[in-house]
């Protein structure tokens, strides 16, 4: 087996409840498992699941031994693509999203959703590559991880600035003067609040949430583009409790 298999991390991702079926999808760093439990009944109001017979149909989607993906070295590939290719692709994405929404906030939400897909995929490989499989436990460290490692692997440079709000200990800002995703985008005057870096916001939100720091990330035009990160109360409370350790 491969070395990084020892660091198998599993997330409970989606739990779908249908007529008597409970399906859970487990994501891990090696693919994902579909677990289907038949004959499970939910006991309403108690929040517990009573089970008569549980048949676990494990439809493994673990990649098979022949998969080339698992044989690849963890080091960052040297391949490069042109920024224009990315800009054109991103532009198509924005147009596609725009064709299916009615408002700017919906458009940004859709872009953020796509960004989350990128963040989730990126987190695993970055933690293994940069952190040797160790997770971060402190708010400041995870923010620095995003500012430095995540930004470098995505955009080839560190984020311009990381700041904390003066009056609020759960709000942080990542400020990027000219984000790569906005490089070739000119926003029409009539919806100037649109910032396509919502996509980057989605990436950051997914990375924070899946590292155990649930947060909401919003994007604003301020000193270029500012990603505003608002952590859950619980995250900050936990961080305070960990202080000095």
């Amino acid at each position: 087996m491969h070395s990084h298999c020892s660091n198998l991390r599993i997330y409970f991702w989606i739990i779908l409840l249908r007529k008597g079926f409970i399906t859970a999808q487990l994501f891990s760093s090696r693919g994902f498992l579909n677990v289907t439990c038949d004959d499970m009944t939910l006991t309403p109001g108690r929040g517990s699941i009573s089970t008569k017979t549980i048949t676990l149909k494990m439809e493994t989607r673990f990649t098979k031994g022949k998969s080339a993906i698992l044989e690849r070295p963890l080091t960052r590939p040297k391949t490069e693509v042109s920024v224009s290719a990315f800009a054109l692709l991103f532009s198509e994405m924005v147009q596609y999203c725009q064709s299916r929404v009615y408002s700017v906030s919906e458009l940004q939400a859709r872009l953020a959703e796509m960004g989350q897909g990128v963040g989730v995929s990126l987190l695993d490989v970055l933690v293994l590559r940069e952190k040797n499989g160790k997770r971060e436990t402190k708010v400041l460290n995870i923010l620095l991880f995003i500012k430095v490692s995540v930004w470098k692997s995505l955009f080839g440079k560190e984020a311009d600035k990381l700041e904390q709000a003066n009056d609020d200990d759960k709000t942080y800002y990542i400020i990027e003067k000219e984000p790569l995703v906005n490089l070739y985008i000119s926003v029409p005057k009539d919806n100037s609040s649109l910032n396509c870096a919502a996509f980057t916001g989605g990436v950051v939100e997914a990375i924070l949430t899946h590292s155990g720091f649930p947060a909401k990330v919003t994007v604003h035009w301020h000193k270029g583009t500012t990603l505003m990160i608002k952590f859950d109360e619980a995250v900050i409370a936990r961080d305070k409790a960990l202080e000095g350790r």
């Binding site: 590939p77 391949t79 693509v81 290719a85 054109l88 692709l89 198509e92 995505l154």
Partner: protein, 182 residues
């Protein structure tokens, strides 16, 4: 006009991972939005076409290639200049048809499919179909109608990725009447 001269030099490159993952996010979204894979393939082709139509201008500005004399030259420019410039890979041009109107681009590695495995329930999905649209759109803008399709795909267990391109016809410039004659 004076800006044209420095445009070739600022052909910026970026790490391919963001590109790959972004494309992945797009395909995932399409799979969620459309009911079947055929529709997704169509949508990818359409988006690719839109990209191609815009990309050709960028390509002609950056690469100082002139007009191609024949389809063979076109094939070489696509493989050695265009793919290299935008995706950082150089496919090989092979399998010419005897008539010289059809060839294959064989990619050893396809930057769009890094980290990708197709789930069993998506066996109709042509994951990289965007590329077909791009080639079709770009060539259409230089008066060439081509048919582009995937013949082999590493995602479906083939050893290489093969894009088959067939020349259909030259598109006659259909200029408006007053430009044609005056």
């Amino acid at each position: 006009m004076s800006r044209q001269s420095n445009r070739t030099t600022d052909n910026k490159k970026m790490n391919s991972e963001l590109f790959t993952l972004t494309y992945g996010a797009l395909v995932t979204q399409l799979c969620k939005d459309y009911e079947n894979d055929e529709e997704v393939n169509k949508q990818l082709d359409k988006m690719g076409y839109n990209i191609g139509v815009r990309l050709i201008e960028d390509f002609l500005a950056r690469s100082s290639v002139g007009r191609c004399q024949d389809f063979r030259e076109t094939a070489d420019v696509i493989a050695k200049v265009a793919f290299k410039m935008y995706l950082g890979v150089t496919p090989s041009v092979t399998n010419w048809s005897p008539a010289g109107d059809e060839f294959s681009l064989v990619l050893e590695s396809n930057p769009l499919v890094d980290f990708v495995e197709l789930p069993d329930n998506h066996n109709v999905l042509i994951y990289s179909n965007l590329l077909c649209g791009v080639l079709r759109g770009a060539l259409e803008m230089v008066q060439m109608a081509v048919d582009v399709r995937f013949a082999q795909d590493t995602l479906r267990g083939d050893n290489v990725t093969e894009i088959r391109m067939k020349f259909i016809k030259r598109i006659e410039e259909n200029l408006p009447y007053h430009i044609r004659f005056f």
